[in-house]
């Protein structure tokens, strides 16, 4: 079951199928993410981007196909969920910080509870990851005292504290206005520069173009076109041409 040799991709989906009732949302999706690679999932609303992302962390069970993440066979019913989720960090559009805990407690909770880290070490770690996202001074604040952009950066820090091998981002800036979006994107950019493996669903085409090593354009549950970021400027399929042409490509 362990296929985590150094050459194997961190994430690989092969012919993944997923339906919600009669609605076929993923119809044979395949792609792979190598270590240190940034993959951007783009496509129209309803094309299955979030579903594909959620399948990687097994928030959705697939109906068919194969998903391997850091050596875990995610498509199998006997996958060790907690081991998988220690290797994968996921950040949602709605931040989902725990409102009753301070930012520090939000960050130290999982390292202490899951990995048995000593409190003092976890607090040092919290300081470190908060510095990474530029929020050291918010250590003892509660989530509601932070702006949306700050909350999202704190949520990223919380994920980083688990030292994941891959990070998943699902439209993490779409609830934010442009100014706050920029500060979150800057953090993600820095992560990419530091070599973090990432899969991100995004509507920020300019950003995707600047940061992604590979683009996966989804259309009707399928990978319709894929390639380096340059496909956004020179798309080959009419669907992607239309998608990038309808004002989605702003820098």
């Amino acid at each position: 079951m362990q296929q985590n040799t150094s050459s194997a991709p961190i994430v690989s989906l092969r012919n993944v199928q997923k339906s919600f009732g009669p609605l076929r949302v993923l119809d044979g999706v395949s792609f792979a993410v190598e270590r240190g690679e940034v993959l951007a999932l783009i496509g129209r609303s309803g094309s299955g981007k979030s579903t594909a992302l959620r399948c990687i962390d097994r928030f959705e069970k697939v109906d068919g196909g194969e998903i391997v993440v850091c050596g875990h066979r995610v498509d199998r019913p006997d996958v060790d969920l907690r081991a998988l989720r220690q290797d994968v960090g996921i950040v949602f559009q709605s931040y989902n910080l725990f409102p009753h805990l301070t930012i520090e407690q939000n960050i130290t909770l999982a390292p202490c509870a899951v990995k048995g880290m000593a409190t003092a070490r976890a607090k040092d770690l919290a300081r470190k990851v908060l510095a990474q996202v530029g929020l050291e001074e918010k250590l003892h604040a509660y989530p509601e005292q932070l702006s949306g952009g700050q909350q999202q950066r704190a949520a990223i820090a919380r994920s980083l504290a688990m030292q994941p091998k891959v990070m998943l981002f699902d439209e993490v800036t779409s609830a934010l206005d442009p100014e706050l979006t920029a500060e979150v994107l800057k953090v993600i950019e820095q992560l990419a520069a530091d070599g973090m493996t990432m899969v991100m669903v995004t509507h920020e085409m300019g950003f995707a173009k600047g940061i992604a090593d590979r683009i996966v354009f989804m259309h009707r549950g399928k990978v319709h076109e894929t390639g380096p970021a340059s496909i956004l400027t020179t798309p080959t399929t009419p669907e992607l041409t239309q998608f990038v042409g309808t004002g989605n490509l702003k820098s």
Binding site: R85, S94, N96, F98, L101
Partner: protein
Amino acid sequence: MSLQLDFPAVLERWPSFLAGAVLTLELAAFATVLGALLGTLAAVGRGTHNALISGACKAYVETIRNTPLLVQIFLVYFGLASLGLKFSAFAVAVAALTINVGAYTAEIMRAGFEAIPRGQIEAAEGLALSRLQIYWHIILLPAVEKVYPALTSQFVLLMLASSVCSQISAEELTAVANYIQSDTYRAFETYIIVAVLYVILSLVMRAGFWGLGLVLFPRRRRLGTPL
């Protein structure tokens, strides 16, 4: 006709009143702690996917909420007796009150659990927390905070309702009053004093819950905003 009240004749029995009030408070304290545990477990059980467990929890809650407390007390009292088990009136009263308030707590806690956004749980799952850790760290305290006023009112109501335990001769406040008034023939005065004592007990409990809230919800203490 004139109303003639003779309080001194009754008030000289103050040690008995005090003992009764203390016992009422003890009954309420035990039943509150045990009922909060029982009710929380029942609320968790009601939310599980196991049909047997959730069905049993639902049956418990509905049975208790649709029968009178006095009948429940008699059922526990005579039920234990007919099994040949001997317990003190105090133990029986605590058991019956616990079972009773547990059912109401379960309903209130269920509302609290349902008020936790799905995203909170997904975020916790994404951080690899276990089911139990999620309940303990993510769900329980915010759920309690959301329903704290309803919960604490229920526990105060329980303390007041414990007066029916006088029926199985637990020596709580109302039972004490019953024999003082039959001793002194000063029923009205006796129950006025008892009423005042119940008001004081209610205030004591509410103050206690207010203090407990300060300890349980540090965020609220600092920011003053509801969750």
